[in-house]
């Protein structure tokens, strides 16, 4: 078990199973098919992401370096949250990018019944350590426990 400390972008506590992307998450490519065609598991549809393609993202602790791709990324993440198909939490090894920040903040400010804790700056060691299937717990003040 290891603890990591990051910065809180969206508050909340949660415990969930990890899914890990070592490359950037293309938000549009990953979520579009799931949101368009009613897939409640939000199965990742990005064929260019070998770590996540075909895996469930909804309800999981999504561990990643950053998001990449189209500037629709933030609103796609907002839609995933509004449709209750969002990850349980998003945990970034790097400082958050502008698209992921937008999606997280829009959901936090504009959706009353959605809680998706978002922590950034967890460091490269976090992504080196965490593996698919591990249990990740987001605690107060940006503390993330992986076991």
């Amino acid at each position: 078990m290891r603890e990591f400390k990051g910065r809180v972008i969206a508050e909340g506590t949660v415990s969930a199973e990890a899914v890990v992307s070592h490359g950037g998450l293309n938000t549009l490519a990953s979520f579009q098919k799931a949101l368009q065609f009613g897939d409640k598991k939000a199965t990742c549809g990005d064929q260019n992401n070998p770590d996540l393609y075909g895996k469930q993202m909804a309800g999981k602790a999504l561990c990643l370096p950053m998001t990449i791709g189209s500037t629709t990324g933030g609103l796609v993440l907002y839609c995933a949250c509004a449709m209750k198909r969002q990850p349980a939490c998003m945990l970034f090894s790097k400082p958050i990018d502008s698209l992921a920040a937008a999606g997280s903040i829009l959901a936090d400010v504009w959706l009353d019944d959605v809680c998706m804790p978002v922590i950034d700056s967890l460091g490269d060691e976090f992504l080196d350590y965490v593996r698919d299937g591990m249990t990740v717990t987001v605690k107060e003040n940006g503390v993330v426990c992986v076991e």
Binding site: L28, Q32, K33, Q36, S70, S98, W110
Partner: protein
């Protein structure tokens, strides 16, 4: 973050609950990046990325309606990305049925929302809003609240405006409240280069390939590119601006570049030169072999990699007027050489409605039509982003389209050969 009295009052609800939430969104967005203040948006027009009435985006339409109902509409008129539908573009019965009745069933109602929010005019649907024909061309130093990665990188790099890589919704909210947080590419420090790219090719590099190589290497960093002025010259004329449009779109989509400087060419590089480069900048050398390596490594995600192309898309981002004219000449000449009268693969050239209007007034329009090439204002990316079109073997010389869809990339010369001769002859 330190707010002015006016900003604080808005945040506390002086102009209503909805505008307070808009301000709260912009403040939190800025805080995530350590912004210490909000600065006024100064451009004449805004540009939004969200042009499509895709059913999955219902939560966005509901949010937009909250803004409209509260009178929290844009303080600027805006252009927006291209429409996702155009009856000129080939589609079979099933595709048309699904596009119109399922995927884009909310297109009409969403366009009404855009009008209510401040859409510039009915023709303002393009990703190349900065072109002279369209008229949303920011001035050097203007502060923008734009989204659309290819437009943002062009505005920052070629025009010298200042804009972060904003997400959709953030784009409209910055304009509604009239302020954006001061961080990243808005600041002098954030516009400094942390990479130096040295171009050592033996010929003018393909814009889309060069942009892709740089984007994948530097990701979100600012590159300072040396040696490209040898091939492009030192003047931002029409041809160079077109090259940089395609180059920049590839840097932004294959990586996450929001600003590049080109030594001796782009405005800030001409003005400030090497002082734009950070002391500890990394170096990336690009020669012919490196471009070849990048090209060879693109995954082909067609089910059958030997399939015959069913469609060719050119114009992601939308083509310029000169590009349409040049390609008319090239297609005609190549068809003549091959002994063909029309293109052998259904081919669509896309451009802004205002650019197409100008093109259609020239003698080139009839000539291009005679070759069988179709012109359209559609967004190729939105056309491709569904399971029906995603399975089609589509070819393109757009590295952005390649990145976001199943379209297969070829260089301009290879595309020309494919559509006029049926192969890389």
């Amino acid at each position: 973050m330190i707010l002015t009295n006016e900003q604080n009052e808005i945040l506390n609800g002086s102009k209503g609950e909805v505008l307070a939430k808009v301000m709260k969104t912009m403040v939190k967005y800025g805080e995530a990046f350590g912004a210490e203040k909000l600065v006024p948006v100064t451009s004449d027009y805004n540009h939004l990325v969200t042009s499509f009435g895709l059913k999955m985006m219902t939560p966005v339409f509901e949010l937009m309606q909250q803004l409209i109902d509260a009178g929290a509409v844009s303080t600027q008129k805006f252009s927006v990305d291209p429409r996702p539908l155009d009856k000129n573009v080939p589609a079979n019965f099933l595709q048309n049925f699904i596009f119109n009745n399922f995927m884009y069933a909310t297109q009409e109602s969403y366009e009404k929302q855009l009008s209510a929010l401040g859409l510039k005019d009915d023709k303002a649907f393009t990703c190349t809003c900065y072109m002279d024909e369209v008229g949303n061309t920011p001035k050097k130093g203007d502060v923008l609240s734009w989204a659309e990665s290819s437009a943002v990188v062009y505005a920052n790099s070629v025009l010298g405006a200042r804009c972060n890589r904003n997400s959709g919704i953030i784009d409209i909210m910055g304009s509604v409240v009239g302020y954006v947080p001061y961080f990243g590419l808005l600041t002098d420090e954030g516009r400094k280069a942390t990479w130096v790219v040295e171009i050592k090719t033996t010929k003018k590099p393909e814009a889309q390939l060069l942009g892709s190589a740089i984007g994948m290497k530097v990701m979100e960093a600012v590159p300072y590119i040396k040696g490209l002025d040898k091939w492009l010259g030192n003047e931002l004329d029409d041809g160079v601006r077109t090259y940089l449009k395609d180059f920049g779109a590839a840097t932004a989509s294959n990586g996450a570049v929001g600003l590049y400087h080109i030594d001796g060419l782009t405005p800030e590089a001409v003005e400030l030169g090497d002082s734009l480069v950070c002391d500890d900048a990394q170096v990336y050398v690009i020669d012919d072999a490196e471009l070849e390596r990048v090209y060879k490594n693109y995954p082909v995600i067609w089910k059958n990699i030997n399939a015959s192309p069913k469609l060719c898309f050119m114009g992601c981002p939308h083509m310029s007027l000169q590009q349409l004219k040049d390609w008319t000449d090239k297609v005609e000449a190549s068809l003549k050489e091959a002994g063909n009268s029309k293109v052998v693969i259904p081919t669509v050239f896309t451009a802004a409605p205002d650019v197409l209007e100008k093109f259609n007034a020239t003698e080139y329009a009839a000539r291009l039509k005679a070759t069988g090439v179709i012109t359209s204002y559609i967004c190729p990316l939105m056309y491709m982003n569904n399971p029906l079109c995603g399975k089609m073997p589509v070819i393109t010389s757009s590295n952005k389209l390649r990145t976001y869809t199943t379209a297969r990339y070829y260089t301009d010369d290879e595309i020309l050969a494919q559509i006029t001769k049926g192969g890389n002859k």
